[in-house]
């Protein structure tokens, strides 16, 4: 379990580092690897391990706190919250479906085999089906 709890970023990616951290942590939370009440590493610790400035990690934690994933009360560190799933508006649902289709099309264009994609998405669907 501990070994799967890793966060990976690419400093050469055109995507800002703070966004990569937000996205990586969000994926970890959605997969249920962190139970509500568990603590994330401190801003300084994560920034040290990733070799980035602590403001970058602090910004990521703030974004995740705004999304309702983290509680950043002073003196407690970053605590994972039991996040209530918000009711999405229809436009968000449609927008997401379109973005997902575009992402799949891009992956196929870049040479990812259709079978690999299908199997990965099936795995993802299985994970999401868990309560």
């Amino acid at each position: 379990m501990a070994n799967t709890r890793t966060l990976r970023i690419d400093l050469a990616s055109p995507r800002p580092v703070y966004e990569q951290i937000v996205s990586g942590l969000r994926t970890v939370f959605v997969s249920g690897e962190f139970a509500p009440g568990e603590q994330l590493p401190t801003v300084r610790q994560l920034a040290t391990d990733l070799g980035v400035h602590h403001n970058t990690v602090a910004e990521s934690y703030r974004v995740l706190a705004e999304e309702g994933w983290l509680d950043l009360r002073r003196g407690r560190g970053a605590v994972v919250l039991d996040r209530r799933e918000p009711k999405p508006i229809t436009a968000t649902k449609h927008g997401f479906a379109r973005r997902l289709e575009e992402l799949v099309a891009k992956a196929i264009t870049d040479g990812v085999p259709r079978t690999a994609l299908a199997s990965h998405m099936a795995g993802l669907a299985k994970k999401l089906a868990k309560p």
Binding site: R5, T6, D10, L11, L25, G51
Partner: protein, 355 residues
């Protein structure tokens, strides 16, 4: 005719030069497999003719600096010239640094792009002291035993006793039978041990942890090996200051105690080389994970300066241990403390001496 004590003192200093020289000779081989003189290279680069030539040229320069330092120290002990001795010791520090920087400059054209991938473990870190409380408190216990022995033999301590010896082997500093005069060196030792212990705690908790190594064998983690080395240093300091603290009763640092201390250092150095080789083999097995620092931030191959890195402690790229990120204010504060604390304690102890 050079006095016997002076020959022992000279021999001791020259052994230090030889030991430092041996360490500097093998230092480049102690870096991670993908790093050569602070430059990121392809993992098999060390086996190439270019790398061997570079290493040979570094070692020739190193030998030249060691010879100069050796000659200066030998001349200083023969002529009782303290200035020459200081110059010789200074050469021992600066000369090899110049040789390393020159080798680094020659290695830069062979650099390859370093990995831009960074990984961090999200698992909580251990908050324990390296080695545990028992091992960390043992050096303090050694100093306490020495203090208790002094207290038990208080009446046998002379009113005035030598605590410092000159380059000619003759005493040139005395202390008196007062609490600070007798227990001063032990307090100094306790301060030094506490400082190393704090550094050990700081590096093991604040240094970068690389997940590829975190799950590997114990010997694979550089942090664990460094913590062990620092514990070894704590024991060495405790033994040295206990011997110094017992001088009021023993009269002079006996040849036997110096031999025991020197033997301890040699045994520890051999163990260290063994751990390091095991660690390097584990690095190779782990697929050469990088140290997470960009090449461009290593100034002269020796000093790390990266304002975009939150790390205060980073692994040295040449040799063994940690250095600091000079772009972090905390690193400067730490450097000041590690310089001022021993200096302050030394001044307190010396001011109690009579000349």
């Amino acid at each position: 005719m050079i006095p016997h004590s002076q020959i022992i003192f000279g021999g001791f200093l020259l052994s230090v030069v030889a030991l430092v020289g041996a360490a500097l000779w093998s230092l480049p081989a102690w870096s991670r497999p993908g790093i050569f003189f602070s430059v990121t290279v392809v993992p098999g680069f060390r086996g190439t003719t270019v790398a061997r030539q570079l290493l040979r040229s570094y070692r020739i320069e190193l030998l030249a600096h060691l010879t100069i330092s050796f000659a200066l120290i030998a001349a200083a002990t023969g002529r009782r010239a303290v200035e020459l001795l200081v110059f010789g010791m200074l050469w021992l520090v600066v000369g090899p640094l110049v040789a390393i920087s020159r080798a680094h400059a020659k290695a830069v054209p062979h650099a390859v792009a370093h990995s831009t991938i960074r990984e961090a473990s999200l698992a909580p870190r251990s908050t324990h002291l390296p080695g545990g409380w028992l091992l960390q408190s043992a050096p303090f216990a050694i100093l306490l035993v020495a203090a208790a022995y002094l207290a038990a033999h208080w009446n046998q301590i002379p009113e005035r006793f030598p605590v410092h010896w000159g380059i000619n082997g003759q005493p040139n500093g005395w202390s008196t039978r007062t609490a600070i005069g007798v227990y001063g060196p032990l307090c100094f030792g306790a301060g030094m041990v506490a400082m190393i212990s704090a550094l050990s705690y700081g590096t093991s908790h604040a240094a970068r942890l690389i997940p590829a190594e975190a799950g590997a064998e114990r010997t694979a983690s550089p942090g664990d090996r460094i913590a062990l080395v620092l514990i070894g240093v704590e024991f060495f300091l405790a033994a040295m200051f206990s011997l110094a603290g017992l001088l009021p009763l023993t009269g002079s640092p006996g040849a036997m105690s110096i031999l025991v201390l020197a033997g301890g250092v040699i045994v520890f150095a051999v163990l260290l080389v063994r751990w390091q080789s095991q660690g390097l083999a584990a690095h190779a097995a782990a697929g050469h994970p990088g140290d997470g620092t960009p090449d461009a931030c290593w100034k002269l191959g020796l000093f790390y300066y990266n304002p975009d890195d939150a790390a205060v402690f980073v692994e040295k790229r040449i040799g063994f241990g940690y250095t600091v990120n000079f772009a972090r204010p905390a690193a400067w504060i730490l450097l000041l403390i590690t310089l001022l604390l021993p200096l302050g304690l030394a001044v307190l102890t010396i001011t109690n001496q009579r000349h």
